[in-house]
């Protein structure tokens, strides 16, 4: 039997970078094949080439033994190759069934299609309502729509690009069940991920990429995480050092009965949120995105103020009515989720970006910027946090995600904050830089600062946090001690609230199973 898909010597370069360098691999019918690699290893480019959304500079692709000519997404789909994108290819303003009608190329009979969707989605254990607008769906539900859309085509090969990055642990289990069922029916699956445990649980074989090259193939179920990680990273990962925390007597950040309306129709209302973070500890806030994190972050950072000053105390002072600059004066520092655009001005040089928040440290005198001072300030951050950059003159957008994040975190830490807020600290950051950033956060807290980490990566929170909070539908759970809880408990809390009463449409937000 010929392989379902075979790649021979695929090479693709973009200006200044070889994204895929002489890649060969093959996938048999019914096989679940992992493509493992860090961010920037070339996984996504390779998938685009397989799907026909990008064309290789050289090399050949065979499907069931026949070469694919004039490769576009349309030819792929004619061959039964379907892809679920990491960033979903769905139109938000129209309904599920309309979205699916756009991708399946037969008659425009929405009622019949809706019945088909309901039937198929139930058969694979991931029910969706075909008449809801995509805009009102949670990320997990959107992913189901994508998968159902592919399944309607009865695919022979299904490509999934980092499908679990937005799912709760329970939803991941469901997804894996669906994928196994599909594979048992003969569908081949290409599973792209950088999460080793998932690959070990699900996949039969793995191709590991680093810097655009294949660095090895493995049978994940028979390999250790360390072996796979070495193939991925090219070196042993540094070990985390988490010493016991000694929390301060008084909280540095205290949130009391914080209630706030949603910012817009698609936002989430915060309901009576109370928690505290003490100096010397790291508190993690877990939750599926879209459950009020954005609202809470903007209220904590001061981007949005609250009329009742007493709902937020920073270092013992009422602060909810203060703007971001005034809160920074109280010793707060903040690393937002969006690095480009919020954390840094993309076209500006690093030294200019340093001045944005470090102007208080003497970099601005009589209203004039001290260029020399700012340059050496930026140079110190680059050196101390091992940022790979072309000096303080490099523009923020020229850095890779991980390096820019190191720079931004470094810039904020250089302000010696008493309170450190950080959202999604390692999103889109490669494994090595992520480990470094996590260690930095731990070190910062052990030196006495209060650190609040908002993250969707449970592994990360379990690795560094002393206490964990869970946000769901605008409500924050009581704190859980990291060492006395587990992923299952947190996962349940992430989908917990209001499941019984079903009072509002938004109740679906976090329900993933």
């Amino acid at each position: 039997m010929p392989p379902r898909l075979e790649l021979r010597n695929i090479t693709k370069s973009y200006p200044g970078i070889v994204a895929n360098d002489d890649i060969s691999m093959s996938i048999m019918p019914g096989e679940i094949h992992a493509v493992l690699g860090e961010n920037g290893a070339g996984k996504s480019t390779l998938m685009k080439i397989i799907y026909g959304a990008a064309q290789a500079d050289s090399g050949e692709i065979f499907c069931d033994g026949k070469p694919i000519a004039a490769h576009t997404p349309a030819t792929s789909r004619a061959l039964g190759i379907e892809m679920v994108y990491q960033h979903f290819a769905l139109f938000e303003s129209v309904t599920v069934v309309e979205n699916i009608a756009l991708a399946v190329s037969n008659t425009f009979d929405l009622d019949a299609l809706a019945r088909q969707i309901t039937e198929l989605s139930n058969r694979y254990g991931m029910p969706i309502d075909p008449h809801r607008r995509v805009h009102d769906l949670s990320v997990g539900e959107r992913q189901r729509v994508e998968i159902v859309r592919c399944l309607l085509q009865a695919p022979k090969l299904l490509i999934l690009d980092e499908p679990t990055s937005v799912l709760t642990p329970q939803a991941v289990v469901k997804l894996f069940d669906t994928l196994r069922q599909l594979a048992s029916e003969g569908c081949s699956i290409v599973y792209i991920s950088h999460k080793l445990d998932e690959v070990q649980e699900l996949c039969d074989t793995a191709t590991v990429l680093r810097n655009g090259k294949v660095t090895g193939t493995a049978r994940p179920k028979e390999s250790t995480s360390a072996q796979l990680a070495r193939l991925m990273v090219g070196a042993e990962l540094p070990e985390m050092h988490v010493s016991p925390s000694v929390p301060s007597e008084k909280p540095v950040l205290e949130v009391r009965g914080l209630t706030a309306p949603a910012r817009d129709r698609y936002g989430v209302e915060l309901k009576n949120v109370s928690f505290e973070v003490r100096g010397g500890e790291i508190v993690g806030l877990a939750g599926v995105s879209g459950n009020g994190q954005a609202e809470l972050i903007s209220l904590l950072s001061g981007e949005r103020t609250h009329p009742n000053a007493l709902t937020i105390h920073i270092d013992g002072k009422a602060a909810a009515h203060l703007n971001a600059s005034e809160r920074r004066k109280l010793g707060m520092a903040f690393v937002p989720e969006e690095r480009l655009g919020r954390g840094a001005v993309p076209p500006h040089a690093l030294w200019q970006n340093a001045v944005l928040t470090a102007h208080r440290t003497g970099l601005v005198r009589n209203g004039l910027v001290d260029r020399k001072g700012a340059n050496s300030f930026a140079a110190k951050i680059i050196e101390r946090f091992k940022v790979k950059a072309n000096g303080p003159q490099a523009s923020a957008q020229s850095l890779s995600g991980g390096n820019l994040q190191k720079f931004i975190v470094g810039r904020e830490i250089a302000l010696q904050p008493k309170l450190f807020l950080v959202a999604q600290p390692t999103w889109g950051v490669d494994v090595g830089a992520a480990a470094f950033i996590r260690q930095t956060l731990v070190d910062l807290s052990r030196s006495g600062a209060a650190v609040l980490v908002i993250s969707e990566e449970l592994d990360e929170l379990f690795e560094i946090c002393d206490r964990l909070l869970v946000i769901c539908q605008g409500q924050v759970s009581p704190p859980l001690i990291r060492t006395k809880t587990n992923r299952e408990e947190i996962g349940l809390l992430m989908t917990r609230v209001d499941r019984g009463n079903g009072t509002n449409g938004r109740g679906e937000v976090a329900v993933q199973d």
């Binding site: 990008a54 997404p73 139109f91 938000e92 303003s93 129209v94 009608a101 817009d264 129709r265």
Partner: protein, 306 residues
């Protein structure tokens, strides 16, 4: 009663060019392209149609000439904005200015004599009904055609796969491209359709509304059409109602001037523009509706990735 009928029919007629132009632009904007050049395309359409009439061509051919003139002008915009990815605002403004220049140039030899206007048709039997007859059944064919176009466009946008594709391209051309739709080609078609409709609007002005060549005869109606589309929150029915509102205000202020109301005539002339915008601003306050119907990628250049 006669006055009421006169105001009513006048309203419908005054609204007709706006209906054509604004519905055309609605389709263009729904595909995610902003063509600010309606005024220019209308003027070119007006000049082409007028020229065809004085050249002795039959009326339907003249109107078609106007439509094709508008489409040709829109093609120019299409090449700039869709093929060369220039800034759509700049390209549209350039087209508006270019169109007014071209029409003035063509119109140098048109003279000042009026032409025979497009005939009104009296629909047999129906037009003889008292009151209803003169109100609804004695218009020229273009008035009915505008209403038909409204029905066709509404049906196309919300009931057909083609309309769904057009709307989703306006939301996210990247996604549409990813699932295999020819974004640029579809946008070209939308732009050309918008040009045809603007050309029709111009033709209507020069051969039916005021069958007499006047330079800049659109008098800002292209710009009002643009505003109509935005304030109607990209919905055909609201465009239609907005156009009628504008038409009604136009006729009312003319009546007001005729009656000698003690308000400067310049102010009265400004009234339709002002009233239309105020009303539309008020009805477009609903943010949710706006978010739902706004073509999210409007005026953003798109080039398929390779």
């Amino acid at each position: 009663m006669d006055l009421f009928i006169a105001i009513f029919t006048g309203t419908i007629i005054a609204a007709t060019p706006l209906i054509f132009a604004a519905l055309g632009e609605l389709v263009v904007e729904k595909s995610g392209v902003l063509n600010l050049g309606i005024e220019g395309m209308m003027l070119i359409g007006a000049a082409f149609a007028f020229w065809a009439v004085i050249a002795g061509l039959p009326m339907p051919v003249a109107i078609l000439a106007g439509a094709l003139g508008g489409a040709a002008a829109s093609l120019l915009f299409g090449v700039l904005a869709l093929t060369f990815l220039t800034n759509q605002y700049a390209a549209g403004l350039a087209l508006a200015i270019f169109g007014s220049g071209v029409s003035a140039f063509l119109g140098r030899n048109f003279g000042s004599a009026p032409i025979d206007a497009l005939d009104r048709i009296s629909i047999p039997f129906l037009s003889d009904i008292p009151v209803i007859g003169p109100m609804f059944f004695r218009f020229d064919p273009m008035v009915y055609f505008a209403i038909v176009m409204f029905a066709v466009i509404s049906w196309f946008l919300y009931r057909t796969k083609g309309g769904l594709i057009l709307r989703t391209i306006g939301e996210s051309p990247e996604t549409a491209h990813a699932i295999g739709y020819p974004v640029i080609r579809i946008r070209y078609l939308a732009v050309l359709f918008g040009g045809l409709m603007a050309g029709l609007a111009g033709a209507y002005l020069s051969v039916a509304y005021t069958p007499l060549w006047v330079e800049n005869m659109t008098a800002g109606k292209g710009w009002i059409s643009l505003a109509l589309v935005v304030f109607a929150t990209w919905r055909p029915l609201r465009v239609l109602l907005g156009a009628w509102l504008f038409g009604g205000m136009t006729i009312l202020q003319l009546q007001g001037q005729a009656l000698g109301i003690a308000v400067p005539s310049e102010l009265l002339s400004a009234l339709p523009y002002l009233a239309t915008i105020v009303v539309l601003v008020i009805i477009s306050q609903n943010r949710q509706m706006l978010a739902l119907h706004f073509p999210a990628s409007l005026a953003k250049p798109f080039r398929p990735a390779t």
